[in-house]
Symmetry: C2
Subunit: 238 residues, 2 copies
């Protein structure tokens, strides 16, 4: 499994993904699930993927090919973020159908979903969740976050602290704590993590880093959060 | 959906269930999902149910009938808690098969699972999770809790604070906070709640109460927990 979460905030877009993929619990590997596409000052787009690796890798490769071809419709030539979401949706849907057509009865396992977020110059920052069939939903002011993969463990903290006016620093904390809860409760989600921030109106990746298992800041945060939860728990009266 | 959670602790068994059932989001009702069976000083058993209401109600009715029949094997005549789990498993499996045999293609929706917990005089307190097919798993020292229904939202808090030596007072707090996280993140789980405690070696229900939506203690706890989480969140450094 996978856990990816994206926040669409007034100050920018904050994205976090894990890197674990598995075919059964005895075949576990590390794969990047976050892809960024940037023309500085013009557009910055990030895509996170969940589900069948054969589908997501092929879909990303097709999108890369389209970008390299000046005549093709691609996420770098699309006129708006909505069109970007449409291109991603069409590519994902096409690849899913092709993979499934060869799979027979196990076709249902060829499922993948994506979060695509970004901003074009003179356009609004937008974030979409693309379903395997290519249709999509969009993050709104009421629900400024989207999740794919193993999303339930990490949802309570997001429900409580994330609003459109959450600052970037707090937003990074929120997605890291949401991931931390998921890592603890589900073996199929694993370190390292990929974090990406697209500052509003920058059309740049303003921060991008990989957080390794031995990352001391993440470890300290994880430990402090456990302790804070236990302290909060002790302080509650019933 | 449903959320039921049970803890098996050194001091006793603590159980909490919600009461919401739905057939689609526009047909929502309140049904008890916790059933208790007590012969004071001899045995105390509690069963919580999740899944298809037609299956769980019929299975509970069958178990009641068997108890009323002195010649039948029932959860009140079973010699051990393991045998109690077997009786529950057989009943659930039989009812599931019968209901499914009439349902054709939609048979997969006739799924239900149960948590059964209790203690006989001179026996150990035990807790089991019964699957739709009648097989079961048991709570252990390493994993002293079991959940059925919408279990993921409420798992992180249990993973962090519940151990076999957790006191009953803290255990009640833990299941209520686990439920609170689930209520917030999932519409299909709803108040009121049913709480039940079986003190170790009492063979009695030592506490049983329904917590209504307007319950002031629960509301205050829910509010204090939200505030404590936000405070803890603000206190974390990254």
């Amino acid at each position: 499994m996978t856990y990816c979460v994206g926040l669409l905030l007034n100050e920018g877009i904050v994205l976090l993904s894990d890197t674990r993929t598995n075919a059964g619990v005895d075949n576990i590997s590390t794969y990047r699930k976050m892809y960024t596409f940037v023309e500085p000052g013009e557009r910055a787009i990030a895509i996170m993927t969940a589900g069948s690796l054969s589908v997501t890798q092929t879909a990303i490769a097709r999108m890369d090919e389209a970008i390299a071809n000046p005549d093709a419709r691609s996420i770098m030539s699309a006129g708006t973020m909505l069109e970007v979401a449409e291109v991603v949706g069409e590519t994902l849907s096409d690849v899913t159908k092709q993979v499934r057509s060869r799979m027979g009865e196990s076709a249902q396992s060829a499922r993948a979903s994506m979060i695509v977020a970004g901003q074009r110059r003179n356009g609004a920052a937008r974030m979409f969740l693309i379903y395997p069939e290519g249709n999509f939903i969009e993050a709104t002011e009421d629900t400024p976050y989207l999740q794919i993969g193993e999303h339930k463990y990490g949802k309570p903290i997001l429900d409580r602290v994330v609003r459109p006016d959450t600052r970037i620093h707090d937003a990074k904390k929120a997605v890291l704590l949401s991931m931390d809860s998921t890592l603890r409760s589900n073996l199929s989600v694993g370190m390292p993590l990929d974090l990406c921030v697209i500052g509003i109106d920058t059309q740049q990746i303003t921060e991008q880093r990989r957080i390794e298992p031995e990352d001391e800041v993440f470890q300290a945060m994880s430990h402090a959060w456990s302790q804070a939860l236990r302290d909060a728990f002790q302080g509650i009266e019933i």
